[in-house]
Subunit: 149 residues, 2 copies
Amino acid sequence: MKDISQKLIGLLHRGYATPQIARIAKRLKEPSTTIHYNIKKLENEGQVKAYKAVFDYKKIEQGFCAYVLLNFSPDEYGDPERIGRELAKYEEIESVDIITGDWEMVIKVRANDQDAYYEFVKSVISRKGVSKITTLMSLKQIKTEFVEL
Amino acid sequence: MKDISQKLIGLLHRGYATPQIARIAKRLKEPSTTIHYNIKKLENEGQVKAYKAVFDYKKIEQGFCAYVLLNFSPDEYGDPERIGRELAKYEEIESVDIITGDWEMVIKVRANDQDAYYEFVKSVISRKGVSKITTLMSLKQIKTEFVEL
DNA sequence: CTAATTATTTGAATTTTATTCAATAAGATA
DNA sequence: TATCTTATTGAATAAAATTCAAATAATTAG
């Protein structure tokens, strides 16, 4: 047996989906060629970054979720944006923002469980340049990626 | 002229997309019927909640983004989860989580600009039961919804 | 352990959908 | 107004999804 589902989840995570032109056309009561034209326009103008799946993360062994607030030491490795772009490469990280206020960055992290999260923090997030880490652990995810759960 | 793009953005926000079976099949070097079978299985088991677009929010007049940390007064209107589900209905709100620690809830909000955000906080987020609001305003969005910007 | 049952894989045929193309219409510009 | 650009749309084509039936693999029951 091939285990295809994990590969599918991996691909659908960030892309490998496409708009349903015919369904949108029916819904908006417009010809599908009009919808097609307008969607391609949105894509060509860069307004659409990707089409992707949103998962029930509990069911795909990614039930643990936390928001992590970070501070950086002012001296070493300086640039928070560079660090942010490096962190963004990890597929465990859903979002990365540089923010105002008492913290400099907030990242949203998903993991299988608290142990996996702890390992991820230890190996990836804790690093030279990070001076303080505050974890806001999600007890109940009500909405994510604009999709209600 | 019809302004279709706003309607498209509205629909593609939460759904109206579908997986690209043929492209996935090529990528994984499997027959498209096998991919089809496995994707339907994921869907039927409820592992996939939706297929949707991710936008370049600056380009669709949703450039403002903030994480809002909330506390509730213990007495009135009690249930944070109920409040969370009500907030989740607003399309301006990308995510809602009930969390551990100094705050009880974190929501991620998008708006056209700071003024629109302020109006949204005034009219929707501030309400009986909310005792404290802390805004972490995003200065730079590096990754969102698992998509790098 | 073996038989029976269930789940998965796959090619061929069919149905549906996306895409291309050309003509027209609408809007913008000079 | 005349000209150029952008948007809409139907018809034709190309591509993709879906259905179906058969074969294979995995699991379960006896």
